[in-house]
């Protein structure tokens, strides 16, 4: 594990009010399951750098919308474009590499892997080592000075050995596999610290407390270095204090330059953190605007705000 001070500082990008650029466009998406219309020609877009809330009563099609965006479902008609490129028809892992990542409403971690390994699966998506690379380690990369093996021993055979290793690495380079493993571990550790659960890095995901699991999902999603992070009810089951923490976390994620799409039931949380809100009902969009506008929209009030906001 690397030291605290080697952590690269997260890039800080302020929320840009400047020229608005659509990061993701959802263009007239229609999705039918047999006879049931799950999404009925929905269109909206997400601007780079914003936090967009996607709300609606249960069964309104929020998660379905996520699933279309991340390639789990293919829309019957319409298209999803990410930075101008069509997303529809691509496989989930390709979409992930384009820069869209997500968390799941019902936590879906890899329960038997440690927290660190969970995040490493995410970071792996930016790496190239496959079977030949891991087996033969022939592909060599010239390491940066800080990546060279350290010489720590004060003397004796051990020191000679470490020096030998260092000079070998200098001359022949290090295998990409090893560098990537190290980078993945560092990056994963950094993300665990970022979401605040680094203390349990080596525990299996299944042994983590609920709140940690939610955060771990976010860290894992961030591991894929997304441009757009979709959070599916991240605050479900949280108490007010935890929700407050989460709010801060979401803002900090945005500050890293990641656009956030947030599905949430808790209106207070949504109102407090989002720049804009899209409201769905029965698979159709009924409102789209700034939080205070949306909260005044009579259709929204009728459809959604009128109901008690349960956290189911």
């Amino acid at each position: 594990m690397s030291d605290e001070n080697t952590t690269p500082a997260a890039p800080k990008i302020p929320a840009q009010p400047g020229p608005r650029k659509a990061l993701l466009e959802i263009d007239n998406v229609l999705l039918r399951f047999g006879g049931v219309v799950a999404l009925n020609g929905i269109s909206f877009d997400i601007q780079e750098g914003e936090i967009l809330g996607l709300i609606g009563p249960n069964g309104a099609g929020k998660t379905t919308c996520f699933n279309v965006m991340t390639g789990v479902y293919k829309p019957t008609s319409g298209a999803v474009r990410f930075r101008g490129e069509r997303v529809t028809g691509r496989k989930p892992h390709q979409i992930s590499r384009l820069g869209i990542s997500r968390t799941f409403q019902n936590i879906r971690l890899f329960p038997e892997m440690s927290a660190l390994e969970n995040v490493m699966v995410g970071t792996d998506s930016r790496h190239k080592t496959s079977v030949p690379g891991a087996l033969f380690r022939l592909y060599r990369v010239r390491p940066k000075p800080e990546e060279l093996p350290e010489v720590t021993a004060s003397g004796g055979i051990l020191r000679t050995w470490q020096q030998l290793r260092r000079s070998m690495a200098k001359t022949f380079g290090l295998s990409r596999h090893i560098l990537e493993e190290r980078a993945a571990e560092d990056k994963a550790m950094e993300l665990l610290r970022f979401v605040g659960i680094a203390d349990r890095a080596n525990d299996e995901a299944r042994n983590l407390p609920y709140g940690y699991q939610r955060r771990l999902e976010i860290a894992r999603a961030l591991g894929t270095e997304p441009k757009l992070l979709c959070l599916d009810e991240p605050a479900a089951g949280f108490n007010p204090a935890e929700k407050e923490d989460l709010l801060g976390l979401i803002r900090r994620i945005r500050d890293r330059g990641v656009t956030v799409l947030l599905i949430e039931h808790d209106m207070r949380l949504v109102m407090g953190v989002t720049d804009r809100i899209v409201v769905l009902e029965f698979g159709s969009k009924i409102a789209d605007g700034r939080p205070e506008e949306v909260s005044r929209d009579p259709r929204v009030i009728a459809a959604y705000l009128g109901e008690p906001a349960d956290a189911a």
Binding site: V72, L109, F110, P111, E117, S130, V131, A221
Partner: protein
């Protein structure tokens, strides 16, 4: 009765775990030394003469097989189990036709390496080669590995998109197809007559061979165990890499893995191909040591035996599957009285292990917890389920 077995089993597993924990607690150099001692012991095994342990030898009974010969079989099966473990234990794909890859490896060396084979004869006639010409053993090894790998990809490409249980049946069919083709394509494989004079490292079997001779099997065992150790090392490298993590992620939650950027198909195909290559290499060793193969040696029962080795030993764990392989290969040889009942015993073992300890005799800790979790889920679910 069952409760008693369960208790016994629990204390056995606890003992195993405490041994494993102690082992892990040892300093690195001691573990290294222990490992070296174990390897030395493996190489010493065919000479086993420690008083009190000689009864382990299969030739200590009347009508028992050559001890080194049995050890060689065990080593080949361990190699098979390690390969199949990549497919079943790591990637979570049930392959019931693993014998097909084993047969492909065996036939690769037979067809290209033996002067007896129609393929070699065709080469000789076509290129005016002498009647003793055949592809060298080492090249055959390479051919076996590559052919098995390719056949794994060819089989996996269309079938890995299928659901897991369909995959099992399709692979079962594949194993049968390989055997039937080997039997029916007489012009290529000599059909049921089989192919003799398959070469070893020193060329075709002959009384003049100094090391890999006809009578003394020990060098063959040492060769096999060396291959096993190399392959264990290689598979460990994979397990502890991006590839291994991806396999694990796919096994635990394929959809989530895909969303995290893992391309499940690609890694499943790799698992399949690696498994196939290991199986093919095991078949290659098998054929070159026995110097004779015929299609009856690759029947579907053996495929099921391979699966049994993996699941009884403990899928996902190389130590477990190796122990499984050794037990299933060794016990019927040492205890000849039960030889007739071996399939009954294998069947019972599979059922009992699955019901009592689905994670196998020596489970990987991960796998064990995964299954426990599922059981717990079932208990939490409503009572009528």
């Amino acid at each position: 009765m069952i409760d008693k077995i369960r208790d016994l089993d629990r204390s056995r597993v606890n003992a195993l775990h405490s041994v494993a924990d102690r082992w892990r607690a040892l300093p690195k150099w001691q573990r290294g030394l222990g490992f070296v001692a174990f390897v030395v012991f493996l190489y010493y095994l065919p000479l086993l003469g420690i008083p009190g342990l000689t009864w382990l030898r299969t030739d200590s009974i009347s009508g028992g097989s050559n001890w080194a010969g049995v050890l060689f079989t065990c080593a080949v099966y361990v190699l098979v189990a390690i390969g199949l473990n990549v497919v079943i234990g790591l990637a979570g794909l049930l392959d019931l036709g693993y014998i097909g890859f084993f047969a492909i490896g065996a036939y690769a060396v037979a067809l290209f390496g033996s002067v007896n084979s129609p393929v070699v004869k065709w080469f000789q006639a076509e290129f005016d080669l002498p009647a003793t010409w055949a592809v060298t053993w080492a090249v055959c090894a390479f051919i076996a590995l590559v052919l098995a790998l390719i056949s794994g990809v060819i089989l996996g490409w269309p079938t890995l998109r299928l659901r897991g249980d369909y995959l099992a049946i399709v692979t079962l069919g594949f194993g049968e197809i390989i055997r039937i083709v080997a039997r029916n394509a007489e012009g290529v494989t000599r059909g049921p007559q089989g192919i003799a004079a398959i070469p070893g490292p020193e060329g075709p079997p002959s009384p003049d061979n100094q090391v890999f001779g006809l009578i003394d099997v020990k060098p063959w065992y040492w060769l096999a165990i060396t291959v096993v150790l190399i392959m264990v090392f290689a598979v460990r490298r994979l397990e502890h890499s991006r590839v291994g993590r991806s396999w694990l992620a796919i096994r635990e939650d394929e959809d989530a893995a895909a969303v995290m950027g893992v391309y499940p198909f690609k890694f499943k195909l790799w698992a399949f191909a690696i498994g196939a290559a290991l199986g093919g290499f095991a078949g290659f060793l098998f054929a070159s040591r026995y110097a004779f193969i015929d299609p009856t040696q690759f029947n579907v029962n053996l495929s099921i035996l391979f699966v049994a080795m993996v699941v009884v030993g403990g899928s996902g764990n190389m130590v477990g599957v190796s122990v499984g392989a050794v037990l299933l290969a060794y016990l019927p040889e040492r205890f000849r009285e039960i030889a007739d009942y071996r399939w009954l015993a294998f069947g019972l073992a599979m059922v009992l292990v699955m019901i009592l300890r689905p994670q196998g005799l020596i489970p990987s800790r991960r796998r064990a917890r995964e299954l426990k979790d599922r059981a717990a889920e079932a208990e939490e679910a409503p009572a009528h389920v």
